[in-house]
Subunit: 192 residues, 2 copies
């Protein structure tokens, strides 16, 4: 449930509404959540119950009330406690690799098409990551170290997808070579 802490983290920057949080998470290419209301509004209720955030209702005219949440000292403490917990290794789902496991039933052309499709999917994701890496979020007063950390996070994701591209391209070439070699061998056997 690290989403709760991620929300708490954003609130540690400045007080915000669920709606604000939702937009941030929806736009963040490097956050693995889809920013659905159910999670966010529930999370805010939970954070409030735990005393980690305060809730202020701002009345508006011609628009719904804003429920503005701000982090409390207890919340900051809880955030730090979570930050220093021993980290888990990354957990990736790569359904493409599952597909590859049983891809030997494909002929050379079908296999090549499959790899090509993966290259495209990964390339697209990489494109959006790069676009976002260049954008500057409107976040206030960041220390050089924090700026550095956020850059490294972005670099991590980009490197991850670049590696994936490199890997699949290498595989594509090697499969091509294997296929050609086999063709030559078959031709030789036919002559004999």
């Amino acid at each position: 449930m690290s989403i709760n802490y991620v929300i708490l983290g954003y609130l540690s920057w400045r007080p915000m509404t669920g709606y604000d949080i939702k937009k941030i998470i929806a736009d963040a290419e490097t956050l693995p959540w889809s920013a659905n209301n159910n999670q966010i509004y529930r999370a805010l209720i939970k954070l409030h119950q735990d005393g980690w955030v305060t809730k202020t209702i701002e009345n508006q005219v011609g628009a719904p009330d804003r429920h503005v949440y701000a982090v409390t000292p207890a919340g900051l403490e809880a955030l730090k406690d979570w930050v220093v917990t021993t980290p888990d290794p990354p957990q990736s789902k790569k359904p493409f690799l599952d597909q590859l496991m049983w891809a030997d039933c494909l002929d050379a052309a079908e296999m090549d098409q499959l790899l090509e499709a993966y290259i495209e999917a990964v390339g697209e994701k990489l494109f959006f990551l790069r676009v976002q890496a260049d954008e500057k979020p409107n976040m206030p007063e960041r220390t050089p170290r924090e700026t550095y950390l956020w850059e490294m996070i972005h670099k991590n994701w980009i490197a991850h997808f670049e590696l994936e591209l490199k890997w699949v391209r290498q595989m594509r070439e090697e499969l091509m070579t294997m296929e050609k070699q086999q063709q030559r061998e078959l031709a030789r056997q036919a002559r004999a």
Copy 2:
């Protein structure tokens, strides 16, 4: 729900029971599922209902009956149909990166400890991956291409975790350098 297809894939190698499948998935370092009964036995029921596998009950003495599932021609077709679906890009959860986002509240020592802990977690995972890459699964009659594909899948995971290690080690060094530089600057200011 690619788990259903992964199970179908294993059954395409040889007929198996849920128990067999469970052991395979539990041992496979590169499969992202925990091999719980609930998923596996339900999946087998579903595959059977869809006519993708047949079910044969083998009575045993002194042990529970074995429900042996074998793939049907329709199952093989469904497997291939799934294999050629346009692949999704990988989806990774890296809670450590979420922690890093708010890690600027840590002092240099705490930060270094956190990075060290991540290095250990990733290193351990990498160790197990490497062990398994050396093991030869007792799977029958594999074409050179299928062998190659499985090796590439393993390499993908290993490269992924190696990259993660490299990334965090670089960050550790750079943070160390930044810290020293800041110390020197503070000392200079103190003299002035």
